[in-house]
Amino acid sequence: MSQYIIGIDLGTTNSALAFAEADSPEVTLFPIAQLANAGEVAEFDLLASSLYLPGEKEFVEGALALPWNPQPSSIVGRFARIRGVENAGRLVSSAKSWLSNQASDPTQPLLPLSAPEGVAKISPLEASRQYLLHLRSAWDQAHADAKLAQQTVLITVPASFDAAARDLTQRAAKLAGYPEVTIMEEPQAAFYAWIERNPDWRERVKPGDLILVVDIGGGTTDFTLISVTDQGGEMQLERIAVGDHLLLGGDNMDLAVARFAEQQFAEKGTKLDALQFHALWQQGRAAKEVLLAEDAPASQALTILGRGSGLVGGTIKGKIARDDIRQLILEGFFPIVPADAVPQRNRRAALLEVGLNYAADAAVTKHLAQFLRNAGNAKPTHLLLNGGVLQSSAIEQRLFEVLNSWQKNGVVELKNDTKRADLMHAVAHGAAYYGKARTGKGVRIRGGVPRTYYVGIESSLPAVPGLAAPMKALAVVPFGLEEGSKVELPQRKFALVVGEPAEFRFFSSVTRRSDAAGFMLDEINDSLEELAPMEVLLPPHADGQREEIVPVTLESYVTETGMLELWCVAADGRRWKLEFNVRERAAAA
């Protein structure tokens, strides 16, 4: 058995690692050694999820050395972010958002998007691998007698990550030399962290309660509903709904503040360059935190020091008013909207530019309204907030105000006594706690897969020339299928030709939660989202000649580590696993 249980929050902008000893209840945050500057290694609670691809003679020899690697080929962490501001063409960031991006193949070298010719780009998968590898190396450096590969490791992903993105996360871990990892959902991890910090939690929620978890990270916003039920006198927790994947987070808010301040400077005739803008961004973030807190001052000064050695002379002064910030953040991102609000949809251009598919509507509250409606007009009784952005009391109050305007019964906040301390690290914490819960030392949320999955089946209607045959969708994985269980569909047979790859179009839905396995949906509509196709290749016969058609049935299986697997099973018991083909997905989009 492993000595430690390790929870990793692999975030869009920052990552964290927490661990617990297998036989102790304590969960501890691991300080991560990383380059703080050229030639300086220091430990920080967070590892910046940034990667810099240094040029050949860019740094003095040895300046990038890490305790475990004298000559790393890339920089990971804080210094990558610092240097990346000065030279953005070599900076890889937001790799995580690219893992779930439908419009490009995350295994292809795409990043940095704006790299000049001559810089060898890397894939989002490779960037994720490097972050995980850095974490592993830092851990191994500190635990020579308990290497990470021998421990129990959990990695969190947004609840809204689809099966292909989860698969890629696990692949990145495997490539980084991790043991078999368990993938868990971030909002659930945040809830576990709350349980861990509040031993009296059983007195604070009761059967019949419905807990809404709102997790706003740097790059994503995630909603989850957890219901509390009574199972023969035992309190049970069940995750009953998760939201759509929303690329909208704290970074977008900071950028909005910086753009606003930049405009104010521009009105006074001051134009900022890229580095000054970055300084403004940093200051805007700090100002935002101050101005959205309780008892905030009326304004906050912004100072951009002069470039060059004329520091005082070139200093630009400005200030940002509390009312402006509140207007910008509260009305821009958390407006008061009715319960039937609908977020603006993307107007898709005929040719989608390769880039991230940011949420078209910045109003988090509209997305929340839609999420609750899709979850059967859910009326949450409790609210748990997670993520750095939600440390601000003004945003917190606004969320309550909006939620309470939608329903008669007031929502109660699940507060942490130590809440202010670290909404940033709760996810890693919760993951480590959950790792223990799985071994029987703590409560466990039941949930299973957060979506219904379908394979596309060409309808047998005569095809119209020039039009693809209409597709039907066969539910192969029902919503909530639990870890360790499987579903067989014996009634539906597919004919696979030996030696030829067979491909299945693959769809998912977060809203259709009652379709049983085997249910056939006659039309593929808006409630379904197409994922990367799944493919399988039946190995050809040794002689390479004989053609054979094998009738197979589909079998779905959710592993103990939470991974979804689809298998083709022949009558004689032979089995072949279906794998995601992310390349196809990119081509289709």
Binding site: N37, G39, E61, G62, A301
Partner: protein
Amino acid sequence: MSRISAAFSSFFSLLFSGVLPESVATQFGYMKMKPAAAPPPETPKIKITDGALQMLQTLQRDARLVDFLMEDIAGYADDQVGAAVRSVHADAKASLARHVTLAPVIDGVEGTNHKLDGGKAPDPNRIKLIGNVPASGKAPGGTLRHRGWQATSVNLPPIGKQDVSIIAPAEIEIE
């Protein structure tokens, strides 16, 4: 190879470069000899002043302190200087805190009486007596005017191959 030409080429080669020519060495079976051990790797020589320059480098990088100190600020209005100083101060403080742990020498309240051992003169490193200092240099106590500062720990990265005399590199932006 003739004996004479081998002898001559060996003679001149040894005289000018200190090694046997390869052809001779091969002919007489000396090639199996291990090459002379490589000189020990050059350990960078760290001068006593390097640490000071490194600290300056650090404060310039993190807080632009050298830019600030080297600028002629006489002509600027107080609010202009003030705005810049707040920024430099915050950054320099954070930088200092990361690299040096500072503590007062005497953890007392300035302006109040502080007892000393009247039997002996205090350690001049730690305590400076000012005012009506007795000829013996010994005093039973006095008013604490300044608590003093001491570095209780220093955490600077090892100096590698960087040129510490460069406090800040010149910056050239490619448009």
